[in-house]
């Protein structure tokens, strides 16, 4: 029988070899984006300074846009009307349900997400080679953000779609909401939450439910001054 006893450096090398193999494992389904979306959100307020829903407008990159509208110009006039794109809008919002609309709303500091109802008022528009998907997500229970605030994260956990806020007016306040503000919450690389997100992302990379994209979460913070 061959001699299988190994010395220290050999064991270290074997471990290093296995480690380098493991690093080649797929990081989730597609941990690099194939679709880019520029996000504009309007936080819709109802009576008593309560958030009733989130109005989203996602503008896609030119490549995805071309792909999405391919074959949908029914009359071939080169113009994509709202009617011609109706099916696309429906398919988009229907399949978004499976992904929680990539929109995660919670009270600042809370772990659990606030439940959302299915999208309303959805449509897509195509112009200047880019496609924009519009829809409104009502909150099941309207909530007063108060001074503590409500955060809205927009991201694709698998990072197939890379969401980024628009440079100008990424989040706005809609409806009558005196004293309420909405702004982009810039990521803080040092924060404990960010570190936690990363370690979670690291461990979930190997499975189907990759959370890699959470590192790219675009967070909006909505606050209201006490009345």
């Amino acid at each position: 029988m061959p001699n299988w006893s190994l010395n220290g450096p050999q064991i270290v090398l074997i471990i290093a070899l296995i480690g380098s193999l493991a690093s080649g494992l797929p990081k989730g389904a597609d941990a690099h984006p194939h679709v880019w979306a520029t996000v504009r959100s309007e936080v819709v307020f109802g009576p008593e300074n309560k958030i009733t829903g989130i109005k989203q407008a996602w503008t896609f990159d030119e490549f995805y846009s071309a792909m999405a509208v391919q074959g949908l110009d029914a009359n071939g006039d080169g113009v994509y009307t709202k009617e011609e794109l109706e099916e696309l809008a429906k398919v988009n919002v229907d399949s978004l349900q499976e992904f929680d609309y990539f929109t995660f709303v919670r009270e600042a500091g809370d772990e659990s997400f606030l439940p959302l109802k299915g999208p309303e008022d959805y449509w897509v528009e195509y112009g200047d080679t880019v496609l924009t998907l519009h829809f409104t997500l009502p909150l099941k229970t309207p909530i007063d953000p108060g001074a503590k605030g409500v955060t809205i994260d927009v991201y694709d956990p698998s990072f197939f779609v890379a969401f980024g806020f628009a440079e100008k007016n990424p989040v706005t306040v809609g409806g009558m909401a005196p004293g309420c503000t909405a702004k982009v919450d810039a990521p803080d690389a040092e924060s404990a939450e960010a570190a936690k997100a990363l370690s979670e992302a690291f461990f979930s990379q190997l499975g189907a439910n990759s959370n890699y994209g959470s590192q790219f979460a675009q967070t909006a913070l909505v606050k209201c001054e006490p009345r």
């Binding site: 503008t59 990159d61 690389a189």
Partner: protein, 364 residues
């Protein structure tokens, strides 16, 4: 023997660095070629009017800046590609054509740097098999070429021939992905079976008093140097050296075109989704040929990245072998770990990706 391998490796790293840096420099000196992005228009006050300009992506966490850089680089390049395709129509077609080819090539390199594109599969495969660096590079290039061809074929048939919709293209890409992952799993399984069978045969041979053990120590050194260039035209003097000793090629199994084509086909039938997007965009702009050119430039870029990684995998195995090349049982242990570990990795990757691809259809 290690010298040429090092040279090839160094050459690839250099090429990678140069190609990654060049567009950054050229983008500054030749802004007219790429032109301003169509998306860089002023944002409207509300959700109407022209498309918004995106703020730079930012990632959190300790590696945030690196991830941010990778994501932003990809986004910038993708926009430049789109702008370049448009320039082909309006601007100087020759200049734009050059930038399109160059931009696609670099985009391919960077795009493949993220997971996917069979990097992990091909790296594990070459690790499990007794592949030379040249074989590793060959497999990488063949797989990338097949992926490119599949993208052109898919768009050619579905979009040009039958004017299908984006949904249909997406659905086909998804089907082919699932098929590809299933095949990858099968390839991994076959690798594992053949590795285990060979190992079993060797163990039973060793048990029956086969005398190779005595020779092993004398020739192990010569052997450790021989793996780097095992292929069909295997030189005779190497065989003399390794003929008597632990023949590690027994563990890995011989190199064969059948196996190479199996892995190339398994990885390659899944069209590169980036290429499909470029093709459809180019087609929408009435410039399908530009999309085809971009697809192959891109495939060339991804092939280089995959080659580098496969070469690195082989290099680390070589390093492990060299750690104690005099010791036959060490050499054998490394080969066994590589053969079985690599096969298991190919299987695992195939299975994970296969299961993931069965998940809900992507909205976009």
């Amino acid at each position: 023997m290690r010298a040429p391998v090092t040279k090839i490796l160094l050459g690839f790293v250099l090429a990678l660095v140069v190609t990654m840096c060049a567009p950054l420099a050229s983008a500054q000196t030749a802004p007219a070629a790429f032109g301003p992005s169509a998306q860089s228009q002023a944002a409207p006050p509300a959700f109407s009017g022209p498309a918004p300009h995106a703020a730079p992506l930012q990632a959190k966490g300790p590696f945030g800046s690196l991830l941010t850089w990778i994501a932003q680089t990809q986004q910038t390049m993708q926009r430049k590609l789109a702008a370049t395709v448009k320039d082909l129509k309006s601007g100087n077609a020759l200049v734009a054509g050059f930038w399109l080819a160059w931009g696609s090539f670099v985009y391919g390199i960077v795009h493949a740097a993220g997971p996917g594109h069979g990097k992990a599969i091909i790296s594990s495969y070459v690790l499990a098999n007794e592949e030379t660096v040249r074989r590793g590079i060959l497999i990488s290039f063949l797989a990338a070429a097949v992926q490119g061809l599949m993208a052109v074929a898919l768009v050619g048939v579905l979009v040009i021939a039958i004017n299908g919709t984006g949904f249909q293209v997406n659905a086909w890409v998804a089907h082919l992905e699932t098929a590809s992952y299933a095949l990858v799993f099968v390839v991994g399984f076959l690798l594992l079976v053949s590795a285990l069978r060979r190992l079993w045969r060797r163990w039973t041979a060793a048990g029956s008093g086969h005398s190779y053990d005595a020779h092993a120590h004398a020739h192990a050194h010569a052997h450790a140097h021989a793996h780097a260039h095992h292929h069909h035209d295997h030189r005779h003097e190497d065989c003399e050296a390794c003929g008597h000793i632990v023949d590690v090629r027994d563990i890995a199994g011989p190199m064969s075109w059948k196996k190479v084509l199996a892995v190339v086909f398994a990885v390659g039938i899944r069209p590169c989704s980036g290429a499909v997007l470029v093709l459809i965009f180019a087609l929408a702009q009435g410039l399908f040929w530009a999309g085809v050119a971009a697809t192959f430039a891109m495939a060339f870029g991804t092939a280089i990245t995959v080659s580098v990684l496969a070469t690195l995998a082989l290099g680390s195995r070589q390093l492990a072998l060299a750690a104690d090349g005099q010791n036959a049982s060490w050499v054998e242990a490394v080969w066994t770990v590589c053969a079985i570990g690599g096969a298991l990795l190919v299987m695992t990757i195939g299975l994970l990706l296969f299961l993931t691809s069965l998940g809900p259809a992507r909205p976009f």
